[in-house]
Amino acid sequence: MNYEAVIGLEVHAQLLTKSKIFCSCSTQFGSEPNTQTCPVCLGMPGVLPVANREVINMAIKTSLALNCKINNYGRFARKNYFYPDLPKNYQISQYEEPLSEHGYLEIDVNGKRKKIGIVRIHIEEDAGKNIHENVVDGSYVDLNRTGVPLMEIVSEPDINTPEEARAYLTQLKNILLYLEVCDCNMEEGSLRCDANISVRPVGQKEFGTKTEIKNMNSFSNLQKALEYEIERQVDILQDGGRIVQETRLWDPSSGTTASMRSKEEAHDYRYFPCPDLVPVVVDEEWIENIKKTLPELPDEKKQRFVSQYGIPEYDAGVITASKALADYYEKVAAIYNDAKKVSNWVMGELLRLLKEDEKEISDILITPENFASLLQLIDKGTISGKIAKTVFEEMYKNGKTPDEIVEEKGLEQVSDEGEIAGIIDRVLAENTKQVEQYLGGKEKVAGFFVGQVMKATSGKANPGLVNKILKEKLEAMKNK
């Protein structure tokens, strides 16, 4: 029997506010334990939360970008459970009345476009962190992260393959980065993803029993975990077994998922409206004002790049996958008018180097001006395309201008016909065996001569001229 998977993703995104959701403590990552806390985020007796408007602004922005319907009346609820890193022993979240609902997001997989529904977006506070390592006499609690604002984005179970899941998360991350509401750093936990997953025979309408998978902290882990879990569930069903509804943890080192807790142990969270916070009333004016601040989103930008710069859709897709990269591209293209050549260099050399170094475009030392002037040097014939790659690497490393590098290293192209002719004569004289082969009809040997000339000039000889003069000389020898 053939099976298909049904996957829904729950994504937690940490909002990029300067202060926490219910107090004015900083949200900066990596500070000394408990240095970013106050009585409010410590949940001390008598203190009260007050909602940070910027958190709601960012969530509205995201809701609009994900085509959600924004509820005009939102309420915070308390989710009650005991945990040492949860100072109030309840988490303030949204339950029956989320900020927004019924949206969607579009993904491209294998050339096909697919809409993935968004069930809801709500905002909540993060918990702290228990520290068990390097502690002698028990466990410690770091509450720097308590009250950091999170946005939970819950998808419909519209995802059917691990590739689609990955594409969804990629596209979502991209949108969040474009909106500048989340830095999407999965390692630091500012973007976290859980999956609900079940399998069913192809053609069956009803969902199978689902499991929830947690702890997938990278794109490749997400894909691997889903692949593993689908196979695990299909194997069980094929052996006539039953899937147990439970929460499973992904273990990247073993490449498997393992049971964390079953449904029977599930909490009764006793949700109820938080009486300390007044309802969030979002009126049309508020929404309209935020609409005005919405940036161009990845899909729009991609289409614009195709029509404005005349580059292929593929190129536009690669370049707009990151807002910073797209912005960079546009700056270069504004100075240098062959947009396709720019996209070739961006996708080829630039992305290759960034990938090798695991760096972001924001780290780059090459200014758009220098990038453009490198391409102009090629056009002018000052350097060859091949040398340009060397120059580019040099620019990438130290941020110097291409002119400086060409001059320093003496990389300027040799275009003196006399000089080139002299070198060719020498090469031909030193390689009589190959000359004979050529004259005997093996014309492919010409490439060998070109290579030798280039070697002799450290690649600086103008390849057009080399080819032209070499051909003339060889023809002359033939006709002798």
């Binding site: 007796p45 008598g46 009260l48 009650n80 005991f82 040492p84 309840y90 609690v141 109820f272």
Partner: protein, 479 residues
């Protein structure tokens, strides 16, 4: 000169004229505390050094400058013990001030102590305190009411000039009534709850407990107003409440709810309250019979909502971060169980269990959701009534003070002593209790006046008028 006997406004005049000094007032009050606190146990902590230090550092000029004020021990004072009368917070010192504490300090008040209460403000008798029960100054065999029984007792016994209490279902007004003094619950949102240790957040409100109505207005002037740290705090134009004390009540429409004068009401209480209504009527107020038809459901509605909120509010006391932690435990869960088991008293545990049950899945709709609907109906009753009247008058409590221990084993009977005050909290309305006479056992009787949201002025106007007519405020308990 027995300065401790004075009211705020009397001291104000003496202090302003330079006839007395703040040190003398404080000394007088501290001596009085020493004299009577052993009998009434109204204070958990006497802040002698704190108060003296305040005066030494120099008091800000303000309406309370030099006046000793006590606050209920569920209101935070920076670095001072704030126990909520619970073992679980027996050593807790908050690193922050409540909003009302800041307002008192800014107004020059000398904070002289933290008063006893039912643990976490849960109770109607101040018997449920880790620090022992408070006794009623009018008869030390009797309870002072609760949960602000400590504040009521110390004001009534002149062991401070005025005090703050908190009122979740009548916790200011019922003890004010039992102790023969003035207690007011302001409109929900008029006084910041920041720094008040929460019992039931949607019902709790801090209010003044004073020797007379003028003091009540003066204290309300100081503690009310918008606070950005409390999102339920409201911005409103705060009048000078003392301006309302004109003695004139002509044309005020007074509603008498039939539901409050039926079965269970003690006859002596009924008679005293009816006398007050006659004073109003004969001085030009218009008396109108009204109905608050959902009154019968108020107590059950209250005990579902209040306990639900309390079960969640009290979850933070787990021994992890502050307060009491059990001596021995084998793991985390065991530590939670033992800390809470040993740290909370019986009444608090009873309410946490009730609230947890009311919120649990499967019972939520039957209890919590239904109680919310009933709350809306009770609010609508008041809205309708206030279309016809300016104030509503009722007895504060169906009886006068009961004996300590008398209702301790019968929580339901205890809960019913707040039957006349609870609806006001559900409606978020302001209400006041003033003494209107004594029963045959010489125990004080309380008269309650309720007004519209943010209409504390009309409330105080009527209270001031009646206080003059009842003429019982100068009568002192036999201590």
């Amino acid at each position: 000169m027995d300065l401790y006997r004075k009211t705020i406004w009397q001291l104000r005049e003496l202090l302003d004229r330079g006839e007395i000094k703040p040190e003398e007032v404080l000394d007088s009050v501290l001596r009085r505390i020493e004299e009577v606190n052993g009998k009434i146990n109204g204070y958990i902590t006497v802040l002698e050094d704190y108060a003296k230090n305040q005066i030494e550092k120099g008091l800000p000029e303000g309406p309370l400058s030099g006046v000793p004020i006590a606050v209920k021990d569920n209101i935070c004072i920076k670095d001072q013990l704030t126990t909520c009368a619970s073992k679980i917070l027996y050593n807790f010192r908050p690193p922050y001030n409540a909003d009302v504490t800041e307002r008192l300090l800014n107004a020059g008040a000398v904070i002289c102590g933290k008063t006893n209460l039912d643990e976490f403000a849960m109770g109607s008798s101040t018997e449920n305190s880790y620090f022992g029960p408070t006794r009623n100054p009018w008869n030390v065999e009797c309870a002072p009411g609760g949960s602000s029984g400590g504040s009521a007792a110390v004001v009534s016994a002149d062991a401070c000039i005025a005090a703050l209490g908190s009122d979740t279902g009548g916790s200011i007004r019922q003890p004010a009534s039992f102790c023969g003094m003035v207690g007011m619950k302001p409109t929900y949102g008029a006084v910041s709850r920041y720094g008040l240790v929460a019992f039931a957040s949607s019902l709790d409100q801090i209010g003044p407990m004073t020797k007379d109505v003028r003091d009540c207005a003066m204290l309300l002037n100081v503690i009310s107003g918008y606070d950005r740290r409390d999102s339920t705090s409201l911005k409103f134009d705060r009048p000078d409440y003392t301006k309302a004390l004109t003695g004139e009540i002509k044309g005020i429409r007074v509603g008498i709810p039939s539901e409050y004068f039926g079965e269970g009401l003690n006859q002596e209480v009924a008679d005293a309250v009816k006398k007050g209504i006659e004073y109003l009527s004969s001085s030009g107020a218009e008396i109108i019979d009204i109905s608050l038809p959902h009154t019968d459901y108020a107590v059950s509605c209250y005990y579902i909502l209040a306990t639900a909120e309390a079960s969640s509010n009290l979850a933070r006391y787990d021994g992890v971060k502050y307060g009491y932690r059990t001596e021995k435990s084998s793991n985390l869960i065991d530590m939670y169980f033992k800390t809470r088991g040993e740290g909370f008293g019986a009444e608090v545990k009873r309410r946490i269990m009730l609230g947890t049950y009311a919120l649990s899945s499967g019972y939520y709709d039957a209890y919590y959701a239904k109680a919310q609907k009933v709350r809306t109906l009770i609010k609508e009753d008041f809205d309708k009534a206030f279309e016809k009247v300016d104030v509503i008058v009722t007895p504060t409590s169906p009886t006068t003070a009961f004996k300590i221990g008398e209702k301790a084993d019968d929580p339901l009977q205890m809960y019913l002593s707040d039957i006349f005050t609870i609806s006001v909290n559900l409606g978020g309305l302001p209400a006041i209790s003033i003494p209107c006479g004594f029963d045959s056992k010489s125990l004080p009787i309380g008269f309650q006046i309720i007004s519209k949201h943010f209409d504390e002025s009309t409330l105080l106007r009527c209270a001031y008028f009646l206080e003059e007519k009842f003429a019982v405020k100068d009568k002192k308990p036999p201590l």
